[in-house]
């Protein structure tokens, strides 16, 4: 996810420092980024030469101190409150005082992430949609201590980067996951209850509601293990029973049916992958 956000930033003309603890992760991301920019040129979405320029604006580092002079730091580490709090605490000691911190969390509270970092007034929620380099929408939220000026500056930056910000309150899952996590679980429970087969559910949702993708296709795409992780982040803070991981989901994950990436989920992709 972080790599996709970095592509958005570099494409928008900003100097972009990509930080990861693993150098091989950075190398992998850079290769994918180069391909993505080249493909954007081919499709006429980027001017000739702009791909090389955008790539040149991106530098990779495993040293957090390299972010010291950044105007904005966007964190996209895994959904773990303690990890995000620790990261912002460390960044606070390294970055210049005016640096804005943004969290790409999709489920956790911005107020809690900011808590104790030392600059709670300059922390905002900035949740990009997957894949970030293709989706324009960014959910933005303020923590309880976020200063209006900091939020406004972050909002203006998102717009300037060509994205479309929408403001939500600092609530679990904001809008997108508050809608999607329970809905996906409802779909899985319907399958478990024998209401319909995945293919019939997907057909009904696409033909009846005009959605581009059926929910089973979508869960297979995002990964069933990711859906479990979303439930585990979402359920304890909402106590919404619809946000709890359904037994079928847990069984499928235990069986290794993780979706497209594993070749099997609600659908079987093994033949497709072998073709």
């Amino acid at each position: 996810m972080g790599a996709g956000i970095a592509r958005v930033i570099a494409r928008a003309g900003c100097e972009t420092i990509c930080h990861d603890v693993a150098p091989e992760g950075l190398a992998r991301a850079r290769a994918v980024t180069a391909k993505f920019f080249a493909s954007s040129v081919k499709r006429g979405r980027m001017a000739e030469g702009e791909d090389a320029a955008a790539l040149a604006r991106m530098t990779d580092t495993t040293d957090l101190a390299a972010l010291a002079e950044a105007d904005l730091v966007i964190e996209a580490v895994f959904e773990d409150l303690a990890a995000k709090q620790e990261l912002f605490g460390r960044l606070n000691t390294l970055c210049k005082p005016e640096t804005l911190f943004a969290s790409n969390t999709s489920t956790l509270s911005i107020t809690e992430i900011a808590s104790g970092c030392g600059r709670e007034d300059r922390v905002v929620g900035m949740h990009f949609c997957l894949p970030a380099e293709l989706m324009k929408l960014v959910e933005m939220s303020r923590g309880m201590n976020t200063a209006t000026a900091a939020f406004d500056a972050a909002w203006a930056w998102v717009k300037g980067a060509g994205q479309v910000p929408v403001e939500t309150q600092d609530r679990p899952g904001f809008i997108l996951n508050a809608v999607l996590v329970p809905f996906n679980n409802d779909v899985i429970r319907a399958i478990e209850a024998g209401v319909a087969e995945p293919a019939d559910i997907d057909l009904a949702v696409k033909a009846g509601l005009g959605y581009r993708m059926g929910p089973c296709e979508l869960i297979d795409l995002i990964g069933l293990d990711t859906q479990v992780r979303l439930c585990e982040a979402f359920y304890p803070v909402t106590l919404n029973p619809r946000a709890a991981a359904p037994p079928l989901l847990r069984r499928m994950v235990a069986a290794g049916h993780l979706g497209r990436k594993a070749g099997r989920g609600f659908y079987d992709y093994r033949e497709e992958a072998g073709a």
Partner: protein
């Protein structure tokens, strides 16, 4: 032109206008279509399929939970509508336990011959779409009351972030909040699931409708 016999029991939600393939009814045709608010239906075991239009009720209201062999060719169906919006071309075909595969195939062939897409489901409350979307619409209406975001922001998130053709608020309001209430109330009664408890805005819409 599809070959069917049509028995009309009042206004049909699935086919409010009978045109095209449904313009003609032929007595004794292999597919018997009961449209409208269907009550008791006599068994017709010689037909390829007997199809009963459903609203919010389960098919077992018409057949009982153990329909028996003489009704093994009887299936339920509803053409999906977002509340009061025009019908889509999705037909949810309800297959009760013990339904004949031949009846299912005949029903599918019939609906496909008139340009519909068929999704098969068990005889459960809300079939597929309403079962899944009504809690989501309730969530959206409650989020609006709770000040999570404006209706515009929520709808934009659904369109741009989830790829929906329209937002949850605009869709629910366009389909009619009172109709949303009717569907949710039926689902809540049948399932006991609080996710179907109609959101305040839908309750208010129903109360206003009752006062008119």
């Amino acid at each position: 032109m599809s070959d069917c016999e049509i028995v009309l029991h009042g206004e049909s939600r699935s086919f409010p206008v009978r045109d095209g393939a449904l313009a003609e009814s032929r007595a004794g045709a292999p597919v018997l279509l009961h449209l409208g608010q269907v009550g008791e239906v006599a068994p017709e075991p010689r037909r390829a399929a007997v199809l009963i239009e459903l609203d919010t009720e389960c098919l077992s209201v018409h057949l009982g939970d153990y329909p028996g062999a003489e009704r093994a060719n009887t299936l339920g169906f509803a053409r999906y509508r977002n509340g009061n919006d025009a019908p889509t071309n999705l037909v949810e075909l309800v297959r009760p336990d013990g339904a004949e595969p031949e009846a299912l195939a005949a029903a599918r062939a019939f609906f496909e011959s008139i340009g519909c897409q068929v999704a098969v489901c068990a005889d459960r409350p809300g079939r597929i779409v309403d079962r899944l979307v009504r809690p989501k619409y309730n969530d959206a209406l409650r989020f609006l009351d709770d000040g999570l975001a404006t209706a515009t922001a929520m709808d934009m998130t659904c369109r741009m972030g989830l790829g929906y053709p329209d937002g949850l608020i605009e869709r629910t309001e366009r389909g009619g909040l009172a109709r949303h209430h009717e569907i949710c109330a039926a689902l809540q009664e049948l399932t006991g699931n609080p996710a179907y408890a109609p959101a305040r805005r839908a309750v208010v819409a129903m109360q206003r409708k009752a006062r008119r």
